[in-house]
Symmetry: C2
Subunit: 137 residues, 2 copies
């Protein structure tokens, strides 16, 4: 990572939405599907999508595409990123970060064979779907 890019990197994280997305990816320690992030954060899809683009341009996350589905994860090959992710993990305590992670856990319970198999699930339908599938969190 180059010189004044340090500040640029922090600027990317200096936005509530992007920081929440980044925290979810860092703290969950899993590759997350875009729709899972959208549901966990309860934000418009385009906001999450745009945030992910910016995090990717900043070299912070990477995507594995699987058909139309996209799985994002932190880019850990970069040594400087490790410092950054450790910090994000510690720094983002309290709300809304805690709830975001809770919501994600519920959403992840709907996976099958480790893969996301449903698209957007409005919060109110989540409970119903989970009961139907017999999952508990």
């Amino acid at each position: 990572m180059e010189a004044n890019l340090k500040a640029e990197t922090l600027k990317i994280l200096g936005d509530q939405t992007r920081l929440r997305v980044a925290y979810l990816l860092v703290a969950s320690k899993r590759s997350l599907c875009v729709c899972e992030i959208v549901d966990a954060l309860n934000l418009p899809q385009y906001q999450v999508s745009k945030s992910l683009v910016m995090l990717r341009r900043a070299g912070l996350v990477e995507v594995d595409r699987n058909g139309t589905w996209g799985y994002y994860h932190p880019k850990v090959e970069d040594q400087v990123n490790e410092v950054l992710f450790g910090f994000v993990n510690d720094f983002c305590s309290g709300e809304p970060f805690g709830s975001d992670l809770d919501n994600l856990q519920k959403r992840l319970a709907l996976r099958e064979a480790g893969k996301c198999v449903v698209g957007f699930v409005p919060q109110k339908e989540l409970q119903k779907l989970m009961r139907k599938k017999g999952v508990t969190v």
Copy 2:
């Protein structure tokens, strides 16, 4: 520190000038006079002054005034800040952070009894002044 203030705090550090100022304060582990910061970073006085105001509003630094002189230091009472400062210290490697710190060391050599006794010193005059005072760095 409150919820979405986490992102706000990072936004403040997401600017090259403010990050350089913050790094200098964190890494030098001393209270620094505004003019010392101006000289070390070789930036216009108003830029440094404005940066300090923003860092202060964000609760990251504090100032002890001594007549017209202002000594700034990181605000370490806040626990979250400790995490932040540790991170800034590790994250800001390379240039221009390294040179900034070098320049500061030279500038600090002009102190007397631990206090700043000169105002702005253009880089070219620093050498001269130091020789006159018989200081080495």
